[in-house]
Structure formats: C-alpha cells, structure tokens
Amino acid sequence: MIRLACLLVLIALVIVAFVAIDPSGPNAILFSFIGMPALGAGILLFGVKRWRDGALSENRKSA
C-alpha cells in the first residue's frame, strides 16, 4: 500500500515538474485532472495505511 501511495504521489510530482518547467494549457490540464487526483489518492492511501498501522492508537508501527 505504501508503494502504491508513493507511486501515485510521484506521478503527481512529475506533473508539477512539467508545469514548473513549461506552464501551458495542456500541462495545466494534466495538473488539474491527473496530478491533483493522484496526489489526493496517494495521501488518502497513506492515511489509511497509517490508520491501519494504529497511528491514532497507543501501539504504533512504522510506515
């Protein structure tokens, strides 16, 4: 699960790099409709992983 979260956020960051290098309409579309959902999904997966690992309880494990 952590690998999938990392992959999704990595995809989002590659798109940010595209936008930073060439801020254009097509890259803005990628940023808004692929990058942002990928970032959101990655963070959500990470949150679920942390919650399942007991991050909110007393017995914590590493991510």
């Binding site: 960051l13 309409g25 097509p26 803005a28 990470f46 991050a55 590493s62």
Partner: protein
C-alpha cells in the same frame, strides 16, 4: 581575488538591469519592452524546490516498501502539498498570459489573429498597444474587479473540462454576454467615448447595462474574426 570579485559585481550590475543595458549595446530597448526577466523566476523554481526532496523520499519508499513515519509524512503529504500549492499559484499567474491561452489548439487561431492585419476589435486593440501584449486575453475577458478575476478563473476551469471531454463545437462562441465592464473600465471616462452621440443615448446605455446588446457586432467590429473561431483547421 579582488579582480574576480570585481568581475562578479560587474556581471551582477549588468544583469540587474537588462533593459537599460540594452542601450549601451546598440539594441532597441524601447521596442524590446518588457525587459527580460531579472534574476531567477522563483514562482517556477519553488515548486521544484519542494518536489525534488519529496521525489527522493518517494523513490526510497517505492524501492524499500517502508519509510520512517515522520519522513513518510513529509515526503507523501507536506512537501507534495506545498509543491502543488505553489504549482497552482504558478498556473494562476501564468494563465493570464496570451501564450498560455494560445497553447491550447482551440485558441491558437484566435491568438494568431491578434497580430494579423484584420480589423477585429481584439486585433485593433492589440496592434495599437491599447491592451497589454502579455495579458491581452485576460484584460478583456476577465471582467472588471476581483469578481471578474474569479469569474475568469472559473471560466478557465470550464474551458479545461470542455477540452478534456471534447465538449465543444466550432465555431466557438462566448458563454453568455460579453462583460462590457472590461470595455468601460478603460473607455467610460474618456472624453472621446462620452462625446459619441450613440453612447449618450439613454436607451442604448440601458440595453448595454442589461446585457441585451453588446458593443461588438452592431456598432463596432466583432471581437475576433469569424475564421479564427472556426478552429485550427480553418
């Protein structure tokens, strides 16, 4: 060493004002306005500053399959969110530029028509330098005031959605009446504008204010040439 310092200072001084430096080089500084960007474009660099360390953390996580929680939180949440916030700011700022609008193929012919010999209202304004050459689309299509800017950004998101869904037909047309606040923002206080008899007519003023008629099409030429609205294949 002092010579090296002197050279660095000289380079810094000459780079700090590229526009005035053009005078000495025999260039045409008056015609090359705006001057080249001074220093680093931080709005383009800052998203990368946050994205690169985050990517390093993510690559380690991808290979190893586990991360220290604090590092994982920074690499998966905080640094990417910061990179995205700065990226969004960059897009918000750069989407005002004519080059940004022209980068989508639907708009390319319209942007190209600005520099042509046509008599469309946009081309006339652009050619005479009555609107900023960098932000001409935004100046006329954003409406007046902060709500105009917000409306323009919302319209930009709708344009992106329609582009992704291929939900558009040629010739493209403006969604709703043109906000004449953009025109009046410059013209309303001009004596030449107020002196025109049709502009003084109360009925015309009411019709314009209610959006029942537009400046273009009837009294003034169309905003953009018909051919440009038919898409890039025309």
């Amino acid at each position: 060493m002092p010579k090296l310092v002197g050279e660095v200072l000289l380079l810094t001084a000459s780079a700090s004002d590229a526009w005035s430096a053009g005078v000495g080089n025999g260039a045409t500084p008056l015609f090359s306005w705006p001057p080249p960007h001074r220093g680093l474009d931080w709005l383009q660099i800052l998203p990368l500053v946050f994205a690169v360390p985050a990517a390093a953390v993510l690559l380690i996580g991808l290979v190893r399959g586990r991360l220290v929680p604090a590092v994982a939180t920074a690499g998966i949440v905080f640094l990417p969110v910061a990179a995205y916030a700065l990226g969004a700011l960059l897009i918000m700022e750069d989407s005002k530029k004519v080059a940004f609008c022209g980068s989508c193929h639907v708009m390319t012919p319209i942007v190209s028509s600005l520099t042509g010999d046509g008599d469309s209202l946009a081309a006339v304004h652009y050619r005479r330098g009555l609107v900023s050459h960098e932000e001409a689309c935004f100046v006329c299509h954003s409406g007046y005031g902060i709500w105009g800017t917000i409306d323009a950004k919302m319209a930009g998101v709708r344009h992106m959605l329609r582009t992704v869904a291929h939900d558009y037909t040629f010739p493209i047309h403006l969604a709703g009446p043109f906000d004449i606040g953009s025109c009046l923002n410059c013209h309303a206080r001009a004596a030449t504008f107020r002196a025109v008899v049709p502009h003084q007519d109360p009925d015309t003023q009411q019709a314009l204010a209610r959006g029942e008629m537009s400046c273009t099409g009837v009294c003034h030429p169309a905003g953009h040439p018909e051919e440009a609205l038919k898409g890039p294949a025309s």
